[in-house]
């Protein structure tokens, strides 16, 4: 069935198809549409779930962890301040190996207050042990909702999964979306089975303390699960393509990178504009390419290095800054390229903070500066006086 939906609405449809049994969420712009839609689905019976009106994001995640420990599929959603408020729960959920799925509407963080999209909220929490995926359009958002559950709940992974949608640009923009039917969804996503849950026949103590003698083993296991997740993501996408007929390309999505001299590495919705500009540059004889990171954890270091090949220079464009250093995506990409022996220079372009528009002229300038060589970190739009 094809419908005209916003990113948030499409994601809610994906959640409906995944049929979580417990949903606990707290409203925050621009995530609200998702929780409103899910409430309506619970009300009209199209989704048979417990919708729990928690009193905060901390409780939203705490409740989801409790339900997951009880052994049922759970969902929560948040954004920005809410995600930061959940931070304690993020490491708790991953350390406990609870495969909770969350949608995060990527939004700027206060101060100054700002409700528009950038990626500082989720990228600041990259080290919390959650799989992090970034959707580019509403269809991918819906599809990622389903894939998130399958990947997170796979016993080789058992890791929570955060799907990020650019605030407003994706959450509130309407597109035509294909909604799979429930039977297909059931074929793709088996019921959640786990041993990591309470059991009256064989009682469990879960979520415990572990001292220095054993703690590192638990942490290593979390890390190893991310390495296995790479294969599980591939497997899930293959199965997805078989059932739904839509193909995805794993951790990254490449555009004209095979022979590219200059490549922008980016994530989220801005990739579309980058591809557009790359096309125009190609028509002028400049070999431009684009890599879009679909996943930031597990980090596609090898995949990026392979796609970069022998490009002459690389730009990382992101809506994030780790103050006092560079963008977080940049430091990840630069480290991966260095490890792979890529010697081409890598430049960082910070844009879109607080929802600031990134124009095609901006992207063209990124390609120009990358070709000419520039500062290691450039804030788009900051020149002269502003400094």
């Amino acid at each position: 069935m094809r419908r005209f939906l916003s990113g948030d609405e499409a994601f809610a449809e994906g959640v409906r198809l995944a049929a979580p049994e417990v949903i606990s969420a707290y409203p925050i712009t621009p995530q609200t549409v998702v929780v409103e839609k899910l409430s309506e689905m619970v009300e009209d019976g199209s989704l048979d779930a417990e919708y729990i009106h928690v009193e905060s994001e901390h409780s939203a995640l705490s409740c989801a962890i409790g339900a997951s420990a009880a052994g049922v599929r759970t969902f929560t959603a948040t954004s920005s301040q809410g995600l930061l408020y959940m931070a304690e729960g993020l490491v708790y959920a991953s350390g406990g190996r609870f495969p909770i799925v969350m949608m995060n509407a990527d939004r700027s963080t206060a101060l100054p207050w700002n409700i528009y999209g950038d990626q500082r909220d989720s990228l600041a929490l990259l080290d919390t042990g959650w799989i992090q995926a970034y959707a580019e359009n509403a269809q991918e958002a819906l599809d990622m909702a389903l894939m998130a559950y399958r990947i997170a709940e796979d016993s080789r992974v058992s890791t929570p999964f955060m799907v990020n949608l650019d605030g407003f640009i994706l959450t509130h923009t309407y597109e035509t979306v294909d909604i799979p039917d429930e039977e297909q969804a059931r074929a793709f996503l088996p019921p959640y089975e786990t041993e990591n849950r309470f059991d009256f026949d064989s009682p469990k103590n879960i979520g415990f303390s572990a001292g220095p003698e054993t703690n590192y083993i638990f942490k290593y296991k979390e890390h190893a699960a991310f390495e296995r997740a790479v294969g599980v993501i591939e497997e899930s996408e293959r199965s997805f393509a078989g059932i739904f007929g839509r193909k995805y390309s794993g951790l990254i999505d490449t555009y004209l990178t095979d022979d590219a001299d200059y490549i922008i590495v980016t994530l989220g919705t801005i990739a579309g504009l980058c591809r557009d500009v790359a096309d125009k540059l190609r028509s002028q004889g400049i070999k431009a390419g684009v890599i879009r990171l679909r996943y930031v954890r597990p980090f596609p270091g090898k995949e990026i290095a392979a796609a970069v090949g022998s490009a002459k220079a690389i730009a990382v464009l992101e809506k994030d800054i780790s103050f006092g250093n560079a963008g977080t995506v940049y430091t990840n990409v630069a480290a991966a390229l260095q490890w792979a022996g890529v010697t081409a220079p890598v430049y960082n372009f910070i844009g879109g903070l607080g929802g600031k528009d990134i124009s095609s002229d901006d992207v063209r300038r990124i390609y120009d500066d990358t070709a000419k060589g520039t500062d290691r970190v450039t804030f788009i739009g900051i020149e002269g006086d502003a400094q």
Binding site: G66, D199, A210, T214
Partner: protein, 293 residues
């Protein structure tokens, strides 16, 4: 139910709580009442710290540590999840300290009561943050010395009264709330049993002395707890169907001064401090006796 009629199985066993720990007694007794079909949620605090040290896990029933602020919210999720799995006859029980309840966890507790979630929340009150080394909590009583309310020349311990948690909870129109003490363990056991049969949110606030933090001999836990109720510095009451009831009127109070003076944490109090404590006790009881009959 009497203590000697309790389930012979142990559900909190092999933990490393200090000798004479009142909290561990409350947890042990409550779980014996609730039995094997209970799921215990314990936030950060002494009882989780002494009971969940991998690989020495001390709960005979299902149990989990919650985030410090998340006892009630995790209980909500556990209850909903188990119900979705088709279970009907089980108890989701929280066992949280005074700090985990009256301070950092009060928001989640309020939310759960507001939703009417079918959970039993037991606050074992040792009147300070014991696990982190005896710091003041919202339930630390007036005058008590803690490591963050030192008794010095300028300030003599905690200058704020104990937060009125029982009535705060009751103000939510909760189906059942009660106060108790490990000093009167049969009363506590009865209240746990009663709560376990009521649907909706239940709250029991049980005084559980901590010899380490209170500065009392490990053999005196029960005596001190009992004395606290007998001298009027604690009260045994219930809130049900919108009404408060006083379960036990000690009549003439035992000496509050003697009760305070035997505890290291009150050693520094002057006669005037003790008079103040007695005055506020009398005001409280005047209200209790008038309104909670």
């Amino acid at each position: 139910m009497r203590a000697d009629q309790l389930d012979k199985n142990e559900y909190f066993y092999g933990h490393k709580a200090c000798a004479g720990c009142g909290g561990s007694l409350a947890v042990r007794a409550a779980l014996k009442v609730l039995g094997e079909r209970s799921i215990a949620v314990l936030p950060a605090g002494c009882m989780s710290a002494v009971g969940f040290n991998f690989p020495q896990l001390c709960f005979g029933n299902n149990a989990i540590i919650s985030m410090f602020a998340g006892t009630a919210s995790m209980l909500t999720g556990v209850e909903a999840g188990m119900r979705r799995r088709g279970y009907k006859d089980f108890h989701a029980v929280g066992l949280a300290g005074d700090g985990g309840t009256a301070d950092i966890g009060i928001q989640a507790l309020s939310g759960a009561i507001d939703r009417g979630d079918d959970i039993l929340y037991i606050c074992y009150d040792n009147e300070a943050y014991m696990n982190t080394g005896i710091q003041k909590s919202g339930l630390t009583p007036y005058g008590a010395r803690t490591t963050t309310t030192p008794a010095g020349r300028n300030i003599r311990g905690n200058i704020r009264p104990k937060k009125n948690m029982f009535e705060i909870v009751a103000a939510h129109d909760i189906p059942y709330a009660a106060t108790a003490t490990v000093g009167y363990i049969n009363d506590f056991i009865d209240k746990v049993e009663k709560a376990s049969k009521i649907r909706g949110t239940k709250f029991i606030h049980v005084i559980a002395p901590c010899p380490t933090g209170w500065g009392i001999p490990v053999s005196d836990t029960i005596e001190v707890a009992r004395e606290m109720a007998d001298c009027g510095l604690w009260y045994l009451a219930e809130y049900e169907n919108g009404k408060f009831t006083l379960d036990r009127d000690p009549g003439e109070f035992k000496s509050a001064e003697a009760h305070l003076r035997r505890q290291g944490r009150f050693k520094h109090l002057t006669d005037e401090d003790i008079d103040l404590i007695i005055k506020s006790r009398d005001e409280k009881w005047e209200k209790i006796r008038r309104e909670w009959k």
